[in-house]
Subunit: 360 residues, 2 copies
DNA sequence: TTGTATGCGTTATCAA
DNA sequence: TTGATAACGCATACAA
């Protein structure tokens, strides 16, 4: 059967410029033709270089260089049935907490020689679903995701397709997939116990919306701490926000600081550092001294917490380690056929700084 | 020729669970068999639903649902030769400036119904190259990149492969590709002129390494401003850092504030906001009042600049717009065959805040 | 050691 | 409207 060779090397003689941009990209076929070997040999040079003699290999490699050959990953993957990329679907790429987690994921991916694609769901359910769908279609090796809601059915859909999934910074009771999270209830307790130790009796909790898992957990830990100390007559004032951003923190600060001094809490525990930074900013704007008039505890211990002009006391999560461990679980699941899902839970720790320094 | 049908629907009868995770994922072929139609019809349902009768379409769609059919993007792309994903190779995913740019890219990608993958080169040349290689192999539609060095030859390599490339936040004189950047020389000038206007005569420039394009440009603008004002006897003290991070800012602050008060600059222009925040933190730690004893100007106007306890004067770049425009150029290049490379340059503006408020 | 043939899942062309 | 078939580029099993 006469095969029509729509050659590439034929009309493009200039060795300086691999190939005119317009024409078809050269494939193994073209390389084979240029090197005067067969297609299979080129493939061997690429995948089992040891099985081809040095001189032949050299010729083939030179041909690849001349032609500017680039492997077609689609074809490769179609053939192989598997891919070597993983993805992390982040909840909010502008929150330093998640970029730090991503760094940890990247560490692990690097070691395993995988490439990592970051996707930002930006707290939008439609976007999250859209990314997961695309990732499924791309047949990536696995997906790490910090979901908006770990109970969303489309997460299960991904799992049902046989795609390895690890949920990061959230967890679910039913073990349909691995997860790596931090004990937020305990973190909330840590924060409030710290404030109680400092003698605060009226403490505000700032964060929201309450539907967010982390917020609920941290609040519940905070409540538990207050309850335990109830003999001291401590109380918790909840100020709910619409989101976990600096702007929302400012906003909440406005409300909090607007309260009559008599009833105003003397300390605030913010559900994350962004909110805490916003609150801090509002304090400065309104001339409220921190920590003298208002002590502040944040959560996450992002780099900007320590860098705030009044360094922020915060509950530290092992962000990078979170990512690393999640990636490790993913790789394990992807390689081990009879893998058992695991729920890894880290323990946070309190980092005390100036924003809660004992006055005097 | 007898075709062996390794059926999928055959052994998996439970309608509740699409397919056992172990077996091959169902393809169009399986859907066709299940729906009792031919392969081409399934394809039509997917790509030209109008060319298939309603009842048939319904049957096919039901079969897809039952089997849990997911398109194989690799095969699609192999066949089509093109992809509908773009990527943004970021210089530093932990720097809010770049995540904001990424948001802008995402805006545009969303509109065009493309998916965006974020890659973080993390300032490492090997990683940048590795990502670009993979992206090339994946035959993505195009690549946005903030390169470590826009003169690196591997960037040209990507362009030579016919891959649409838009350089973000850097530029090169030769127009081998599009670029979207901000006039950093002007930005540097803005910052320093502001300080000169406030009466400062001894100004520090903090940033580095000097090899980074932005640093060099901002410094040169700063120098020009000082030179213009030389009649006033102003001078510029350069404090070079190893990077553009908060930690480096603190570090530089230590050095700067260690100078004898007499010779110490009364104002500092930092090459970015992270460095400025570090400096600010150091000032607070050492009890140096801002702006009374040291005025500070940052660069980028990231959200944390305004949120700093002493709100930071900064040179604002249209971060999101930068990303949007870059993505738009990329799409244009990808679709328009006789596209002309463009160098878009935005103009930054100064946002004055408390960190340079005139004392008194 | 090198060459040949086949199929991965999809889409498009063309014939029915 | 629907069905059969040929690519897309690569990797592998197998033959030479």
């Amino acid at each position: 059967m006469a095969q029509r060779f729509t050659g590439v090397g034929g009309t493009c003689e200039d060795p300086g410029m691999p190939q005119a941009p317009q024409m078809r990209a050269p494939g193994v076929k073209d390389v084979a033709a240029a090197a005067g070997v067969s297609l299979g040999t080129v493939s061997n040079v690429l995948n089992r270089p040891d099985r081809v003699s040095a001189p032949t290999r050299a010729r083939v490699e030179q041909a690849m260089l001349d032609l500017g050959f680039v492997r077609n990953e689609s074809a490769r993957q179609l053939r192989a049935g598997r891919s070597s990329t993983v993805a992390y679907v982040m909840l909010d790429a502008t929150n330093p907490f998640f970029t730090d987690v991503a760094q940890g994921v990247e560490d692990a991916a690097d070691e395993a020689d995988l490439s990592l694609f970051l996707c930002n769901s930006d707290n939008r359910i439609a976007r999250e679903r859209s990314y997961l769908d695309r990732l499924l279609q791309q047949r990536v090796m696995g997906v790490l995701v910090t979901p908006i809601d770990p109970h969303e059915p489309h997460l299960d859909h991904v799992v049902a397709q046989g795609m390895p999934v690890v949920v990061v910074d959230r967890r679910r009771d039913v073990a349909t997939h691995c997860s790596v999270s931090v004990d937020d209830v305990f973190g909330g307790r840590l924060a409030v116990e710290h404030l109680l130790d400092l003698g605060h009796e009226c403490i505000a909790f700032i964060g929201g919306p309450a539907s967010v898992g982390q917020v609920a957990d941290r609040l519940s830990g905070a409540r538990a701490a207050v309850a335990d100390a109830t003999g001291g007559g401590a109380e918790l004032v909840v100020v709910e926000t619409q989101g976990m951003t600096v702007a929302e923190g400012r906003n909440a600060g406005e409300r909090l600081l607007g309260m009559a001094r008599k009833h105003r809490p003397t300390a605030a525990f913010c559900a994350n550092d962004l909110v805490a930074l916003g609150l801090l900013q509002q304090c400065v704007a309104l001339g409220v001294r921190v920590p003298e008039e208002l002590a502040i505890v944040g959560y996450d211990d992002i780099e900007f917490a320590a860098a705030a002009a009044v360094p922020l006391t915060s509950v530290r999560q092992p962000r990078r380690e979170l990512g690393r461990r999640a990636a490790a679980l993913l790789l394990e699941e992807a390689s081990d056929p009879d893998h058992q899902h695991q729920q890894v839970v880290f323990t946070p720790e309190l980092v005390a700084r100036q924003s809660t320094r004992r006055p005097g």
